[in-house]
Amino acid sequence: MFWNEEFETLPREAIASLQLKRLQKTLQRVYATVPFYRETFNQANFTPDDIKSLDDLRRIPFTLKSNMRDNYPYGLFAAPLDEIVRIHASSGTTGKPTVVGYTQRDIDNWAEMMARCFVAAGAHSGDVVHNAYGYGLFTGGLGAHYGAEKIGASVIPMSGGNTRKQIMIMQDFGSTVLTCTPSYALYLAEAAAEEGIDIRNLKLRIGIHGAEPWSEQMRDEIESKLGIKAMDIYGLSEILGPGVGIECIEAQNGLHIWEDHFIPEIIDPESGEVLPLGEKGELVITTITKEGIPMIRYRTRDITRFIPDPCICGRAHIRLERMSGRTDDMLIIRGVNVFPSQIESLLMQIEDVEPHYQLVIDREDNLDTLEIQVEVNEKIFSDEIKVLQQLSQYIKAQIKEMLGITCSVRLVEPKSIKRSEGKAQRVIDNRKVS
């Protein structure tokens, strides 16, 4: 099923020529209205007229998150405030938040892309969309909301938190589609079970989860615990918010990125060079329809690769492999690059281990230490010490084999790792504090 069949199945050449035309227009716009881009282009001896083909994009310097902070709050806006109808901002864990503005046309395009996402995930009018993404400055809530309304679904604007009420409403209102972070989906299932409700018996059939990296094993966990099909959605406020890309329900393998609105590139995060098709690297996105705050070659810091093969769903838009981490999530432990997602997928492969874990990194005598905390549930619990110690040893050995580093494993009581109602806090890095 498609929301916009014509554009979602556009032949490759048509996408490319549309991209070039829209790119040229976007570059003209930012060159004329945003001093930051004009200066950057000038320094690189580049003018928008130099863009003759899509390959010329490589000549343009990257835009970084720090450029957004430097131009806080409105410095990168390419439309005057009287055309901006909405302002969102990122959570800004370090310093000032990053601010984005949308014109009415941006809001319409966003709703269009989110509508495509809902339909690709198998939703349709008549569905009851339980939207547990946060409403507010964060783009998640409102982004999903507008798309769900556009396809004619009935939207419940739950926002995050208040889990008991969420479960009651889900049950009473007959929610069929759940939109929230993957960790919150599992938290909901757990909280429902505590109240004696098996969430699998409710009407939910589809989950659309994003805003944090998750693994294939976590998908299996969500699908079996909630009795739904779970799709990965991609987005970031700097580019749009949720809806930049989505997995289709047909393949559940890779996220289609809407190429009539974005030009994605995969680069080597060290050298900045564009990588050959299919190689893993950092995702860079150029927006080509945005008016409020167009982004030129924005470095997302997300690690992925293109899946070049055509998809069985018939969408022409290229797929991105599930994000395997972020360049800034990467931990360097004793000189080894470690992505929390690697450890997660390893833990999820061990039968009956809960997806609640935490990594604690510390430094003792100038040596980094990694402790993995894993909750002990009834399935892995044994009344014999040696069985539990074997489990710890097994996890340690697996980590050693995969990452080459020695860690310690701490078995902890259930529910002792803090549950998150938004993005899960998987890593506690005590090295930064000292």
Partner: protein, 143 residues
């Protein structure tokens, strides 16, 4: 011939043991005997109580990981060589003891030892065949 025991996973941090006994006490459950096995990070508390199922339910409601296992209670003469003779019988029968602990009894000439075996049926058979008294579950939980 078997006795129900509950085992509880406890993190090695202050107050956890007290929390378990508080939960049980508030539920009116009496602890008959206990043993604590510990490592540097965690411990396993093994309990024999007067109301096993209720104990499991209330502890689970307080987010503890609890399991129920079957152990064997054996009457041991409270005199030198008492335990040794029983262990000899088990050894001869090639019965492996996972762990054991002693029961606290108020009076009497016998002590009671709780055994956890891999092969519980085989253990009971070997013990009874050798004239050793294996106590009934009800007897133990109602002492």
């Amino acid at each position: 011939m078997k006795v129900e025991q509950i085992s509880i996973f406890i993190e090695n941090k202050s107050g956890r043991l007290a929390e378990v006994t508080k939960v049980l006490g508030e539920a009116g459950i009496n602890i008959r005997t206990l043993s604590l096995a510990d490592t540097s990070d965690f411990g396993i508390l093994r309990l024999i109580v007067d109301q096993t199922d209720k104990a499991k339910t209330v502890l689970k409601a307080h987010s503890f990981t609890v399991s129920k296992t079957e152990v064997v209670a054996v009457k041991v003469p409270d005199k030198p060589n008492g335990l040794s003779s029983i262990l000899q019988v088990l050894d001869n029968g090639k019965i492996n003891v996972e762990y054991m602990y002693a029961f606290v009894e108020r009076s009497g000439e016998d002590a009671v030892i709780i055994f956890r075996f891999d092969d519980i049926e085989g253990a009971i058979k070997t013990l009874t065949e050798n004239g050793i008294t294996v106590l009934k579950g009800e007897h133990v939980t109602r002492i």
